[in-house]
Structures are given as structure tokens and as C-alpha cells.
Symmetry: C2
């Protein structure tokens, strides 16, 4: 649950966890191609031998990095939505609140999926379905919530919320204006009120 079923995963030993944690920090901050496996191993306090015993290749570290982020984001989001109660409008706004809290915790460099996509050209890359899978999942989430508010406009409303959300992550990452996610939340509220 959370990660794509067709994606191959690895055994999560303690050393493997430290590798993922180091990779998440480094990949997100500096980019995937800019970070070498030697650095990841050093930052994780793990030898390259161990790293390759667990992951096999760098590509797999990227896969685990994205799958782990995706998984943690969905748990994080579920917590925020549950705390917001059953009202669909409140749950929509909770998504934006979750995004803001997530950015505060994990850094303001935009969406790791979008950033990874910028560096991955091949659609056959094993990380590809994780990236597109998360985005499609988010669209479904928005569309389902929109359907509880205005069933006959679910598609249009869901896509509008998705556009605002993605735009907010980019604007927040590039610091185009202050509190971009909060601004998007306001706009989402207006869109729902109009429907």
C-alpha cells in the first residue's frame, strides 16, 4: 500500500535504512545525477560493499528513495486528512495544510517526484511508474473528494485542485511569492465555494 505493486523492493536492513535516509537528503538537495554512490555510502556510514549487497545498483537506490518518499507522504497526508474530519471540503484543505507542513519539515525545493522526473528521460526507467503513479493517485484523491461536493463537476474540480496543488509546490520551491501553498489553499477554497 502506498508504493506501486509492480515495483521491485529490497530487504530493509538497518544499513539499508541509513542509505535511504542519506540518499533522500542528498538526492533532494543536490539532484540525483549530482550525487555519487561513494558520497551516499559515506554519509550513511556504510561501506560500498554493503550498499551494493543491498541495492545492487544506483538505480535501485533511486527507486527506493522515491517509493519511500511516496509512502511516507501518503501516511503523512492520511494523518492530516483524518484530523480534519469527514467534511470533504475540509479534507481538501487538509491536503494543502499537509503540503505546507511537509515542506516545512522536508525542505522547500519543490516536489521530489517532479524534480526526479526532470532528471529521468527514459519512460522505461523503473522509477517512472512511481512518479506518475503518485501524481495519478493525487488526482484521483482530489477528484473523489470533489465528487462528494459536486458529483457532476468532479472531473473538472479535481483537475483544478490538482493544478493548484502542483503549482503551489513549484511556486514554493522557487520562492516566487511567500506562502505559495497557503495562497493555493485560499484559491482552492474559492473554487470549491463557487461549485
Amino acid at each position: 500500500m502506498g508504493s506501486n505493486e509492480t515495483t521491485q523492493r529490497i530487504t530493509m536492513t538497518p544499513a539499508a535504512r541509513r542509505v535511504i535516509e542519506a540518499a533522500e537528503r542528498l538526492f533532494y538537495e543536490r539532484g540525483i545525477h549530482a550525487v555519487g554512490v561513494d558520497l551516499i555510502a559515506a554519509e550513511a556510514g556504510v561501506t560500498k560493499k554493503t550498499l551494493y549487497d543491498r541495492f545492487g545498483c544506483k538505480e535501485q537506490i533511486v527507486v527506493e528513495y522515491l517509493a519511500d518518499r511516496d509512502e511516507r507522504w501518503r501516511v503523512f497526508l492520511a494523518d492530516h486528512m483524518n484530523a480534519a474530519g469527514p467534511t470533504p471540503a475540509a479534507r481538501v484543505l487538509a491536503v494543502f495544510d499537509a503540503a505546507r507542513a511537509w515542506a516545512a519539515q522536508h525542505g522547500h525545493k519543490g516536489c521530489s517526484m517532479v524534480n526526479a522526473h526532470a532528471e529521468i528521460s527514459d519512460p522505461a526507467h523503473p522509477a517512472y511508474p512511481i512518479i506518475t503513479g503518485q501524481k495519478r493517485w493525487m488526482l484521483t484523491l482530489f477528484t473523489d473528494l470533489a465528487g462528494e461536493i459536486a458529483p457532476e463537476q468532479a472531473g473538472r474540480l479535481g483537475r483544478a485542485l490538482m493544478l493548484l496543488h502542483e503549482g503551489a509546490l513549484v511556486a514554493e520551491g522557487l520562492s516566487i511569492f511567500p506562502d505559495a501553498i497557503g495562497q493555493a489553499r485560499e484559491q482552492a477554497q474559492a473554487v470549491l465555494a463557487a461549485a
Copy 2:
């Protein structure tokens, strides 16, 4: 006009132009760090000596790549906006039409500025002001147009249009749903109508 004034530019000889053209294609498709200067030189039909005589270092190629894209986008956008006439609402919609036409011409991998930002960690990087400069310029454009429609809401409307626009580029790049830019255009129309 178009590019940042503080950014250092190079002499555009024919060989330099071919380098930029090759770099634009390769950087956008595969990412900046994934593309080496040897490949750029080969694709441009230029020796590495010439490449380094013109640009000095790879970083400068990145700068010219982004500055050139920015410049060409602004011209492209100006053409579309002028063709749309003087009505501010029509000019706003023309931005989305221009974005759609641009994507059709240049490929659907999202915004090159956003993608470049994913690979550039250091804010002191010479390409940084080009990236943020373009986004701030776009926000000003939207805000100014919004000011002609509803002066007292210019800020909020401008930011809303910006969010929709950035979201559209991401959604288009990741193919989350068909014609994301067109959907954003519709949403922009609704936002303007409500104001």
C-alpha cells in the same frame, strides 16, 4: 531585455549558436548533469577546443541555455499576446495558448526553468537569477493584467493565475491528464469571470 542584465553573456559565433542549440535539446531531454560537454560538442559538430574557447566552462553553457530559452519564450509570448488584442482577459488566455503552442513545439517535459532548478542546489549559481527572474517576471505579467481587470484584487488574482500556469506546465510534463494547459486555461477563465 529578456535576459537578466547582471548575467554575463558570450560572443555568439556560428559555432556557439550550434552549441546552444545542441545543448538546449540535450539538457531539456536528458537533464543537465546527465549530458557531458563531449556529447554537446559532437552533436553541435564542433570541437571541444572551440566550445571552451567560446564558453569557458560548462556552467556558462547552462547559463546561455537558460537565458536563450527565456529570451525566446518572451518573444514567443509577446507575439501571442499581441495577436490576442488589447483586452486584458484575452491577453491572459493568450498566455495559456502560448504555453500550449510552446509545449507542442519544444516538447512535453515541463518547464526547463523548473527542471534546471531541480539540478541546481547552490543559489549562488550564475543560472539561478535567470530561473527566478523568469518566474518573477511571469508573476508580474499576470499581476499587471489582473490589475487591469480588478485593480483591488490584482495581487490575489495574479498569484492564482501563476499557480494555474505553473501547475499546468507540471501536469503537462508528467501527462497527469490530457491537455493540462487547456484545462488550466478554462480554470483561469473561471477565475477571471468570478472577479
